[in-house]
Amino acid sequence: EPHLSFLREAMGVMQHHDAVTGTEKQAVAADYARRLEVAIRACATNTKEILNQLTIDTSRNTPERELGKRERRWATGPKKEYLFKFETCTLLNISSCAVPEQADKFTLTLYNPLAQTVTDYVRVPVPNVNYIVKDFDDVTIETQFLPVPAPVQDLNFRKSSATYELVFTATELPALGYKSYYITKTNGNNMKPVPDPPN
């Protein structure tokens, strides 16, 4: 509750006409950005708590009989409960995110805020082109790699080791629900994306 209240107060400050229209001084604009960043980061705790609770409830409430043969084999003994960090990346819009850039194995959980099922494409910034994506049903998802366009202006401003974007389709994200994918770096040597030959 204190985190949410802090974000509510930050959003309260953002109702000022200067914050809405961008007519504040540069230093004030920077302070607005700082307040929002601190408040959103504080609420990451809430997201993590809720999603962990959701995932634990889901795994506890899936009756044995509903688990397929494969899961039954794995579901032996007491379930280990993992608390995931569920980190949000506020620089995804400039193709930058610490976890996929540094980890060899990571999960991506997509929460769909709409009241309808959604299928959309996901872009994950990665340092090379050797990754596979699996869903919870042991299905390997089709992927494509594209270079992060690195025009001159980007080199000075985007501090990221990601030079490619891993693209895949997140199908049927449930309404107000989530889906997780397990992404692993492989030793393979996937083909790097090659542009069409120049005309």
């Binding site: 007519t23 540069q26 991506l108």
Partner: protein, 289 residues
């Protein structure tokens, strides 16, 4: 047959000419001329003494003249194709580039632009615009959204409730766009969805434009007492964003109508899935499942 390459899918196909510009869009069984370019308005520099002589600034958009300046005549292209998405990487110059992409089975095209640092060593402020010109005969009428909901009908150089005398022809035709700007004739419709609020207008027949970045050098004397000249790492700010282009039939008796595609795309792009990452180095795939 000047078009030399195209990207797309069974719903929408974008054709680029030998100069590297988008020239036509094929959708809903028709091919219409649609080209996209980046241009800029030079900012007015006033003495701010009387009202009519204010500079372009944080509170007002005031170009020095109505003519726009072109940014590049021949962008360099790189085209990437794959099973999920096809992309054209355009590099216009050292401070404007863009990726145009069409995903498999999607009915819109994405224009992800990257602008900045805007050069001002000539001492002039600049207001950068992405402009889509089409052969759609919209009779000077276009539509802008009101906070992501209803579409308001606009007509260039006109107001419904008084006889308009425009002293600032360009600025007087600019409107606030929160999520969408569109135009149509009795056969085709073109809509552009934005990923943030921008200024927009239709300054010519069949044309839509959205202002994506500004760098100004003079305060406009409306109170902030500071030029809108945002910097990062000591250079002008680099801005990155996305426009979604939807072109289709303007007929209302087909399903889904172009407007329905616009609405669903808008919902999905403005309320996207949240991406939450977790390091999984210490948990095997089996345990994770």
């Amino acid at each position: 047959q000047s078009s030399f390459t195209s990207i797309g899918n069974e719903f929408i196909r974008l054709n680029f000419d030998t100069n590297g510009f988008l020239v036509t869009v094929t959708s809903d069984g028709m091919t219409r001329i649609v080209n996209q370019e980046f241009v800029y308005y030079e900012a007015a520099t006033g003495n701010n003494r009387e009202f009519r002589n204010r500079s372009s600034g944080a509170y007002i958009f005031r170009p020095a003249r109505d003519q726009v300046r072109s940014i590049a005549l021949q962008p360099k292209l790189k085209i990437y194709r794959g099973d999920l998405v096809e992309e054209v990487h355009q590099s216009f110059n050292e401070w404007v580039s863009q990726v145009v992409r069409v995903y498999r089975q999607q009915r819109h095209a994405e224009f992800e632009w990257l602008v900045g640092p805007i050069p001002v060593d000539d001492g002039k402020g600049k207001e950068i615009v992405s402009r889509f010109n089409s052969d759609i005969s919209n009779a000077d009428i276009f539509y802008t959204d009101s906070n992501g909901r209803e579409m308001i009908k606009r007509k260039r150089d006109h107001r419904d409730t008084w006889k308009l005398k425009l002293l600032e022809h360009t600025a007087g035709n600019y409107y606030p766009i929160t999520t969408k700007i569109a135009l149509e004739d009795d056969t085709a419709r073109m809509a552009i969805l934005t990923d943030r609020a921008q200024g927009g207008s239709s300054m010519g027949a069949g044309s839509l434009e959205l202002m994506i970045h500004r760098r100004l050098l003079h305060d406009d004397a409306f109170g902030v007492n500071e030029a809108l000249n945002e910097t990062a790492y000591g250079e002008g700010l680099v801005a990155r964003g996305t426009h979604y282009l939807i072109v289709g039939s303007s007929k209302k008796n087909q399903s889904p109508t172009t407007q329905a595609i616009e609405r669903f795309t808008q919902l999905q792009k403005l309320l996207p899935a949240w991406s939450l990452f977790s390091n999984a180095e210490n948990i095997s795939y089996e345990d994770w499942r």
